[in-house]
Structures are given as C-alpha cells and as structure tokens.
Amino acid sequence: MIELDARRLMCPMPVIKTQNIIKTMSGGDQLRVICTDPGVMQDIPAWCRINGHTLLKTEEVAGEFILIIEVVQE
C-alpha cells in the first residue's frame, strides 16, 4: 500500500495530492492518505465518487484523518 502524508495541508491540497498520486498508480492498488484538515472527510470521498475510485475505509485517530482508497482503472 502506498502512503500519502497530507498532514498540515488544507483542502483542497490533500485532494490535489491524492489525485496526482493516483494518476501514477494502477487498478487495484491501494492508497492510504493521512490528513489533519477535517475537510478531507467530505472532499476525498466526493472526489472518489466523481472519479470512480473505491473508498475502502475512513477513520479518525488522535486528531488525524486516515482514508484508504482502492484505485479503479478507467
């Protein structure tokens, strides 16, 4: 699993970083994104729905927001 550290970035930067890294990944690959801006809990799921990727899990741990995405090949 690839990990993206988007801590301290404010939306939409975590979304942009997620978008850009997923462009380099293949279908079935998984990405774990770690953020501190609570806005990602709205924005990254919306971005996944729009672009057809699967959001496997979201959780909040000690003030950090963790999202796991499975890449779906177009």
Partner: protein, 376 residues
C-alpha cells in the same frame, strides 16, 4: 477559479481537433457523434449552469478547477471553530457530482504569483486581478484541452455580472489574449456575443444557448430551478479572497513590510486567520481569535516566534518579523490584553524563539492603548 472542458467520446483525439483547419474539421465531423468540452468550474452557480447547458446538448463535459491559494473554497471553513456548523464541502467537487462529470483540480499556486504581482490589466476594487486571472485560467484550460483531446472550452461568464472581468468589452480580450479565440464558448451569454466555432460548426445549437446579462441573478436562479439545482453555493463576495477589502489590506501590508511584492503559500494562508496588529514596522502579531484558529496557528510554531500567556488563559500568537527585548515586552502587553488576564496587574507571557523560551511579566494594555493604527 474553476474551468470545465467538454470532450467527445472518441478515443482518437486528432480526428477533429480544434487545432486542425476548419475544413479538415468539417470533413471529419461526419465521423463525430459527440464533442468534448472542458469547463471552468468555480463551485458557484454560473459555472454549474454553463456545464449543464452543454450536457443538455449532448456534449461530453469535464471540469477543471484551479487552486490559486486565494480560493475561499474548502480550508477556511475548517479553520474557525465558529464555522464548524457550516458544511465543509468543496463546492467545485459538489458541482461536478451534481453534473455527473469528472473534475480535475489543478494547483497553480506558483504560476499564479506572476498574475497577482504583475497584472497587465491592473487590479479591481481591491487586490483582485480579475481580468488577468481569467485570461490566465482560460490559457491554462486551452493547454489542458490540447493535451487531453478536448474540442473547446466553456465558462460560466455572464456579460455585466462582474465589474472588472465580465463586461462586454472584456469578453473578446479574454478570448484573444488566452489564445482560445473562438474555441471559448460562454453558454449563459453566448447569444449576446459573436458566434464561436462550436456554434458555427453545429457542435452546439446557438438557439438553445442563453442571453443573460447584467448583475441580476434571476435568470440563473430560474435556470437552476429548471435543472433541479436547489443547494448551490452563493458566496456573497465571490470565490476569491483577493476581492475582499480586509484581506487585500493585509496583503499590501505584508508586501510593504518586506519591501518586496512576493509571497509563499503559508503567508497567504496566515492572512486569512487571526487578528493582525503591527505595532512597529519590524514586526506583526497574528493573534488567534478562538480555538479553531489557535489550533491552526499551532502548526506554525516552529516557523515563527510565538507568545503564549502562562498565568492566564489566552490566545496563541505568532510574531512575524524581527524583535528585540523591548519589542517582546510591547508584544507581550498586547497579547496579555487579549487574554483572560486583561484586567490583572501582571500577566506572565512565554516567548519562544527557535525552541528557546523565556517568560516576561507584563502589565496588560488597557483597551484604549491598543492603537487603531496597529490593526492591519
């Protein structure tokens, strides 16, 4: 700040590219069933409607959204605790989801500096270089369209809607200076403008485009109702902090204090947060106004000198600039004024610079001693 593009469903992008001659395009048109448009999507109603109008005409539309760092969208809602009841959704993403289109968000923070610092067409009422900004974004959208095989560009512009960039005389300036020329279609006001290539070639039906003009929002609201959009964003001051007077004053103060017109992303983020006071030319204080801002400023503790009241509850404060011991005392008296120790005889304030802390005990300023001229 967003752009939507439209595209055909064909895999081959060359067969009818706008970059080919018009005659070649006409010859190839018989092969085409659907054209592709890229749409600038800001998250506001107009760009949403413009994209929807194209979708209704069978155009394949994808959105593009440019992040300059000055966008009101997103992060600012997350900073202040008092705003937590507001939805934190990103309206550009929301627009794309409502439209059922893809959205490409593009970071243009670095490139945008030149637009803001050296605007060829100047500024609007505040530090908003709206015309240069629009030209820049359409230029970027055109590049994106060429790279991704899209046929034309659409925006939600309406003649007369905005005093600087959306005027009848600026529409052709944007088309020409961006290089988009007649590949730039404004579906909401197209009937008030000369025909564009997509109209002449019959990719879109001009009769089904619109003739909106002026500052009224009624036609847009009626069209939104027709399309069933009822939860769209209506930002009072537009989608950019540069149109905001208070923000613009802070930006010009930042440049004046540094003796140069430049910025980094952290600079422009911090202009959105806290109470800013400049008691002396060599430093400015950024004082958190509530818990959400306090938490946000915590992230900058390693980059700035910080002040924190120790004997009483109070806000975290960043000191931007340089300061000597006398300046620290002045800063501490100000910070103490905004703490719960404002009426105390003495307040202990911890000053931390490069990880080294010392404490000063100061008498808080009285309210009238906080000079108006200090407020940025």
């Amino acid at each position: 700040m967003f752009l939507i593009l439209a595209k055909t469903q064909y895999k081959s992008i060359e067969y009818n590219s706008p970059l080919l001659s018009h005659s070649t395009q006409r010859e190839n048109r018989t092969m085409a069933t659907q054209k592709k448009a890229v749409a600038l999507i800001s998250g506001g109603l107009d760009s949403l409607l413009a994209a929807k109008v194209m979708l209704e005409q069978g155009i394949h539309v994808e959105g593009i959204n440019f992040y300059t760092g000055f966008c009101v969208e997103g992060h600012t809602h997350a900073i202040r605790k008092k705003d937590k009841a507001k939805p934190k959704r990103n309206n550009a993403l929301w627009s794309a989801e409502m439209l059922g289109i893809k959205l490409h968000i593009i970071d243009i923070i670095e490139e945008y500096k030149d637009v803001l610092i050296n605007p060829k067409h100047g500024y609007g009422a505040n530090m908003n270089p709206c015309l240069d900004c629009k030209i820049f974004m359409v230029t970027k959208a055109k590049q994106w369209a060429e790279e991704n095989g899209f046929d034309f560009i659409i925006t939600g512009e309406v003649i007369g809607q905005r005093p600087m960039s959306q005027r009848k005389e600026t529409m052709p300036v944007i088309s020409a200076e961006s290089g988009a020329d007649d590949l730039l279609l404004r579906p909401l006001c197209a009937q008030n403008l000369p025909e564009t290539l997509p109209e002449r070639e019959g990719w879109v039906n001009r009769d089904e485009l619109h003739d909106f003009s002026g500052r009224t929002r009624k036609p847009q609201m009626a069209l939104a109702e027709k399309f069933g959009f009822d939860d769209y964003a209506q930002p009072a001051g537009g989608c950019c902090f540069l149109t905001d007077k208070a923000y613009s004053v802070k930006l010009t103060d930042l440049w004046a204090s540094r003796g140069k017109r430049d910025y980094e992303i952290d600079d422009i983020m911090l202009l959105k947060v806290g109470r800013h006071l400049r008691p002396k030319p060599n430093f400015k204080l950024i004082i958190a106004r509530e818990e959400g801002e306090n938490n946000f400023l915590q992230g900058y503790k390693k980059q700035f000198i910080t002040l924190r009241t120790m004997s009483h509850k109070g806000p975290l404060t960043l000191l931007d600039g340089t300061a000597n011991e006398g300046d620290f005392e002045l800063a501490a008296r100000i910070v103490a004024r905004f703490s719960q120790g404002r009426d105390a005889e003495l307040v202990d304030v911890e000053v931390t610079e490069n990880g080294v802390s010392h404490t000063v005990s100061v008498q808080p300023f009285a309210a009238e001693e906080i000079q108006e001229a200090w407020r940025v």
